[in-house]
Each structure stands twice: as structure tokens, then as C-alpha cells.
Symmetry: C2
Amino acid sequence: MEHKDSSPQTMDTLVSLCKRRGFIFQSSEIYGGINGFWDYGPLGCELKRNIRDSWWRAMVRRREDVVGLDATIIMHPAIWKASGHADGFADPMVDCKACRHRFRADQLCEEHGLALLRTAGGFALPPEVKCTHCGSKDLTEPRAFNLMFKTYVGPVEEEGAAAYLRPETAQAIFAQFRNVLETSRQSVPFGVAQMGKSFRNEINPRNFTFRSREFEQMELEFFIRPDEAVELIRGRVASLADKPDLSQPQDDWGWEVWHKYWVEQRMAWYRAIGLPAASLVEYWQPKAELAHYARACVDIQYAFPFGVQELEGIAARGDFDLTQHHKHSGKPMEVFDEQLKLAAAGMDAAARAAFTQRVTDTWSRDGRDPEAARAFAALLLEGKYIPHVIEPSAGVDRLALALLCNAYAEEQVAGDKGKTETRTVLRFYPSVAPVMVAVFPLVKNKPELYKHARGIFDALQRRWCCFWDESGAIGRRYRRQDEIGTPFCVTVDFQTLEDGTMTLRDRDSMQQERLTLEALKERLDGLTA
Amino acid sequence: MEHKDSSPQTMDTLVSLCKRRGFIFQSSEIYGGINGFWDYGPLGCELKRNIRDSWWRAMVRRREDVVGLDATIIMHPAIWKASGHADGFADPMVDCKACRHRFRADQLCEEHGLALLRTAGGFALPPEVKCTHCGSKDLTEPRAFNLMFKTYVGPVEEEGAAAYLRPETAQAIFAQFRNVLETSRQSVPFGVAQMGKSFRNEINPRNFTFRSREFEQMELEFFIRPDEAVELIRGRVASLADKPDLSQPQDDWGWEVWHKYWVEQRMAWYRAIGLPAASLVEYWQPKAELAHYARACVDIQYAFPFGVQELEGIAARGDFDLTQHHKHSGKPMEVFDEQLKLAAAGMDAAARAAFTQRVTDTWSRDGRDPEAARAFAALLLEGKYIPHVIEPSAGVDRLALALLCNAYAEEQVAGDKGKTETRTVLRFYPSVAPVMVAVFPLVKNKPELYKHARGIFDALQRRWCCFWDESGAIGRRYRRQDEIGTPFCVTVDFQTLEDGTMTLRDRDSMQQERLTLEALKERLDGLTA
């Protein structure tokens, strides 16, 4: 067997492949489509389901320190005021006055190999920039455009009734932090996970499903102690310089170790669902790129046909978000930490004063308010703090696209009559493949064999996504399954009636072996659980 | 053991129960909430996940004649023009001119024990109706209020950019009908299923999560042949009068049998996830209540504390929806049916004329256009038609609420010291319970026992949602699990170290038995697959 792999090289190939096989359709296609919206067909929605299920299993069900949340898309608008989205979640936009085409200013500059200029009041275009549609230089100044979709709740369209479609799932986790803490028997460190649709009114949606206006997120907010609390409790704070063992969380970890732990966890998950380590880039944002509240941020990137782009961002956000909601809602976001209270109770007045001084000095050195530092230290000594947070934030649609790109291959193989032919195959890992196993009766006109095959199909279908195919030569049936990425094909033949074994054919090696139903179930169980 | 069951009698009990145990919180609660929006906490989101998974398994993965779709919430606005929602999806609204309170006109009349009056131009209030808030009779005339949330796609808020949040998931299925048909190897009869969020800008959201503004639907559109096509192919059309066996679809079924088949399927599913037959009402809408395009509609209802209300509607909608999109999009929605073509080819000219005459007569008798009847018959004789549809449409939130109401019980049981005490228990079926099994080490200070218990926990957690609890007396740990509806508790004790058996305690009978891990896994497998 000679391999000649070729990932889809252009977006057109990819879009056409996705449509032809029922993975992804343009939304509202019969009405000419709607820019930036995509629907998932029969195979696409199973792929997405598998991605979501795998994430939820890894992040929630198999962990004792993470619980789930499923909040609404439309929330109280005050949430977006507190989070900063109402005022700051905007892209710079320019219009061409000649042809009325509209651009995202930074993207337009990029297409000229230039960067958007920052001014005192906002942004400006470098003078070389032209409209890429008509060539005119008659462009408006860049102006901020808020990316949140706005609607009105209740029957009157007035500002008091305005609400927004969430641009991220994360904020609901902060807004419901106290309710979850009070009802879930969790204590810091612990996390809250949420999956669901988010919406951004992108000026120029592009790159197929990669940058669309309606998309699906999988986000975790993992709440940790501030380093100063760790120090009081454990007397030390482990940092990356200590080369900690990251396999199991420890209570002396500072934020830096927790952040690295989550980067490792997430990278391992991507590998586990079939993106090879070599296809992923771990991009550590330099300090200058970080948002003002972020302490560190790592992007996990994948090499798409249109460039190396972000699948997930893992940010250490400090206590920014909970503090904002603490201030804006007037509801306390501090937690009480029994261990911290005990540690503080064991300190004498001198130790407490020294601790407060140390915190104040450090904050002052970082240019932060010394009064706030003293208040923070005082609160810690009462056993209280606002938790800090590590946020791994991933996109379902981007990942589905990466898995499709990664799975696609064309190979030259020996055909039935010795001729070389092209085999198109989607090499999905079993845990994400839309169909897990296809079942074929060798022939359809032998009632006993047919009935036996149906019995096997029914048994497998109780647990896995299965496909029944009784028409055409077995070789053709294999090819059909290769094209949709089914890892296993089972053929029930006359020998099955005698000894209960059937032929299992592996998609990738194209090798066949005989095994019993029990052995097959055990194999599949090991691959999908 | 004496049973004294009591379902939650008032909405307040239910709302408080849901909040206290982390099932359901008010959205944006820290900002005073937002009317008509509800969030699901750690246990609530697992309950919802189990409902969705069970529906998807029953409706898609275990059927060969249904495939899935996952379309966007925002679609091209022309879809809502075609479906009738843009013009007709409205509730009559009245305002009190004195206190400015706003009501849904039909609900306001109901509260007076009256019905809203229909007029030539719309609606009118009976003269007795007063504002239930301030008592004034100074009310506006009822006027139509469209329930779709409106937003603008792209940077300009102009009518051309207006779009709507979908008020139902069904329409995307019709809009993508051709794409699914062409890529999925299905042919009529077959179905397309979709789950997801829908939005209705209710004038008065009420009854907790039952009537909210953002909710989740599970809808199937099952496409069938028109009866006339069945008649041509099979020479007869089975109706309910033939008392057909509904266990397995047959190709002589007319729409009436298909409709009844889906009612039976859906009722069986509700029973399978734990709503007893006695708690469900199958309400067949009288002809006068039906929408103009519907041939029949059955509501599956549940007795909530606030009244008997609909969980699901199962409608026979004829070819209304596909025909509307056929007309509005200009894209053909007819399918070609090989068997029909063959049947028609076997008819002589006289038989074809007689068939056309029969169809025309029947349509004319029903007051329908004879010319349309002739066109329909001609199309059939070419082997083509627009499929008819049966639509089972269910709500995830309503069902979650019904399962919570149904599961709740308070019992008087014998306590540890022989005293009678009240046990609060949620009797969820294992297939929907947020936690499937809790694992307890008998004591936590025996490392060997502790480690063994952890091993069992890890093995179970690979497949099921598990809970680890090591603190407090075993009896107390049982009670905690009873309160969140965990069907099984496993205690690992000293005997486990000797013979590998552990204690399995059943939530409902409170009986205990000893079994091995293998036996336990087999039992759980049978209950959840």
C-alpha cells in the first residue's frame, strides 16, 4: 500500500467536501444564504456531538473538581457592562465611500501587509491603504463597532429593554459563581464548565466556519486561591521554576503552575481526539499582547489551509472578572476559606503585620494601589478572598474544522482488478467519528444470514452510532464508509452462522481479522469510553 | 416502610427546591434577574443532558430512518416569511392606560373566566374585563405583537439587515430538506431531527421555566408519502380503521397511521424515562382547534402543580411547510420516488385518467382547487411529489420540570434510632438521574480500603456520572444522595478487600445487597444503554 496523503489544500475543496458528504451546509442556502452562518448536516452534527461529549467527559464528568452550568444566551445587560463588553467589545470598521464596501480596519491593513495605526482617540489607516474591492482611497476613518447582537426583551423597543446575545459563554459562570458555590459542595480550587452558542456580529465573517457570527464555545472557569493565600496556608508557593509534577493538582501551586497544568491538560485532550502533537502550536502570548487584566495567555493553534489559527485560548485572568461583578452587582464574590482562616489564626501580630507589609510592597512595586493591597491583606487574614481564575476557552466549530482537515486524505491503493485507484478517506479517531461501525450482510438474499446480521447490528446500535449497508459489492461498501470516516466495518458471512465470528475491517490499515461479537464490543468500548 | 408521597404542591416549593439543590437558578440573579430566562446549575444541566441524549438515542441513533441536523438560530429572514411567522406569529396584547401594566389579552380574559372575542379586524375584550393590577377598565384595544426577537446582522440597523432569533427549530429542517436528502442516502419515508434553543418574546412569561423566553426544543420532521402515492404504489392505504400493528412501519400506511405511530412512539419514550402513563394525558385536538394546514394534532400533557399543560405536540402538517418553501425560495421541494414511477408506468391511459379524476373529485369535495388537484395527480404520475410531514415537537425545559415534579417525594421512614423521620427523595429513573452512582469508602483513615474504593470509583466514572463522598456517617451520605436523586450508592468496606463484593444500596427500596464490580457494571449498563 502506497500512501500519498493530501490534506485539502484550498478552502473551496474543503467547503465542497463538507457539503457533498453532509457535514456542513450554508445556513438558509435556498434563500441565497446568510453571511457568517453555517448549518451542520447529518454527519456534521454527529461529529460536533462527539466533540462536545468528549470535552464534557474530560472536563466535567471525569473530574471531581469541576461542575457544569447551562445558562441563557440572553442575560441581564448589566452583565456586559460589568464585563467590559458593552463598552469595549468592538472592532474598528471602515467604509469605502466610492463603492460602499465595508471592512474590518485591521484586516484591510493586513491585506496591504501593513498594521492599523493607534492614535490618541482610537485608530487610523496608514495612507497607503486602498479599498481592495474598487481600489479607491476614499475611505472613512476607522470607527469602533460593537460586536454584540442587540435585541429587545418585552414588547417595547426602548433602551431600557435592550439586551444582547452573549458574545461568550464565560460571563454566565461568573454571574452564577455564588449560586454554584453554595449548592455544589465544591470549594476553591474548583471549576465551572459551560458549552453553548455565542454570537458576534463580525464585520467580515470569513474562512468558512472559522470566523462566523454564530458559533459554539466550550469554556471552563477554574477558580484558584490567590498566591498570597497559598503562601499563608502552605508557607510557600510553587512556581514553574520548581519544575512541579503536573499530573496531579497540589495545594501549594501558584497561578503560574495552575495555568501550565491546564495548558498541558488541554494539549493532551487535543491529542486524545486525534490532532497529532506536530499539527498543534502552543503560542505563549508575549506580555505586550496581553489584555490589561491577563497575567498569561496561551493559544493552542492549528495549521488550517488558510493559515495557522487559534483553536483555544488558555488565559490566567487573575480576579478581574469576579471583582467586576462584585463591584457592579453589589453582591459579594469573596469566598471563605477554612484552611486560610486557620492559617491566619496561627499567626501572631508581628507575622500578620509583616505579611501585610510584604503584600503592600509587592503591589506598590507593580504600580498598584497600596491601600487596595492593605485591604486585600486584611481580607486574607480573615480567611476571605475573591478567587483568581484560569480560563481554557475552546471553539467547537473550529475544532470540527480542524478535525475534518486533519482527517482528510487521498491515497493510491491497489483496486479490485490490480489497478491502482484513489481512495478518499477521513481518518477520524473512533471517539469523534460520526459513524463508529458499519454492518454488512455479505449477501441480502439469504434470510438466515440477513437476520443474523440484523441481530448484530441491533446489539451494536444500543451503544454506538452504526450504519447498515446491504447494497453493492463489499469493496464498494468499504469505500463509502472510508469517505465518511467510519473506523470499522463488520461483514457477516456464512462462517458467522457456524462459529459466531465476523470479519472486522480496519479503515486505516484496510486489514481484516475475524472476531466474535463480544471481542468486538470490548474493542469498541476501549476506544470510545 | 410507610410511604407518604407528596409532589411539590406550589410553584414556590418547586422553585426553591430547584435553587437549593442546584437544578435551576434565575438568570442574572445577582443583577435582579431577567424575566423569562432561567439557568441550569450543576445538577440541572446533567438532567437536561440526559434528556437530550435519551431523545437523540431514541429518535436518531437507534433508528435507520432518521438523521440529525444542527442549524443556526439566526437564519435568513425569508424563512419566517415563508413559514408564516413573520406575519402571523403574534399574541394579542393590551395595556392598562391607568397603571401602564401590560397583558396578553387572552390570558387577561381567562383570569376573568372569559374568552377573548374575535372581530373582523382582529380581537376585542369583553366589556367586563378590568386590569388585574389596578382594577381600571381603561384598557387599550388588543393589538398583535410578534413574538420573534429581532436583531440586525452586520453593522447597520436598517430593515434590510433585520433578522430574527428562531421561534422554533423546525423551519431549518424544511429549509435544509434538499441538502439532507441529497447527502444522506435516505428516501421517503424518513425523518430529520434537531435539538436546540428557540426564543419567543412572551408578553407574560410565567409558571417558572414552563413558559420562558429562551427555551430548548427537540423536534422531528418525519417525511412521508402523500396518501395518493401510497395508493398508487400499494393499491390501498391503511388507515386506523384497519387496526394496523404499530410496532414496525409498513409501506401501506397513510398519514393517519403514521401520525398514530408517532404518538405511540413518543408516549412510550416518556414512560421509558420515568413519567408514568397515569401522569400523562393524550389530548386529541378537535378539528375546530386545528391550525388551517394541520390534519390532526395530539398534545401530550402532564399535570404540573399549575395545571395540566403540554409537554409535546404531535402534528400531521400535510405538505404545508415544504410547499411554502417551494413557493418562496423557487427551489423545488419535490422528491422523485422510484417505486411510484414504476407503479405509474404500469398503468394504462384509462387507469391514469381514472386516478386523476378520483383525486380531482376528492379535492373538489373538500373545497380545494380542482386545477391544483390535476397538477398534483400529473406530478404523482411522473413519480414526484412534495412529501407530507408528521412533527413530534417537544420541550426540554418542560420535560425537565415534569421529571422534577414527578420525582419529588417526602416519606416517613424509620431513622437510625428507631425514630420516624422524613426522607426527601427525587425518584429519577437511572437514565435521567444527574448522578448515577455514589461511591463511599466505609472509613477514610484506612489507606488500603480508601485506595480500593478510589479504584472502584475510577472504573465506574469512565462510563457513568459518579459522586465521591467520604465524609459523615453512611446513613447521612445516603440521605444526601436521595435528595439529589442518585439511584445507587456503593459502599466499599473491609469485606470488599477480602472477596471483592461491595454493598449496593437502592434509593427507592433502601434495600442493600452485595455484588462484585463486574455485576454492578452489568446492572448499570442494562439501565442506561
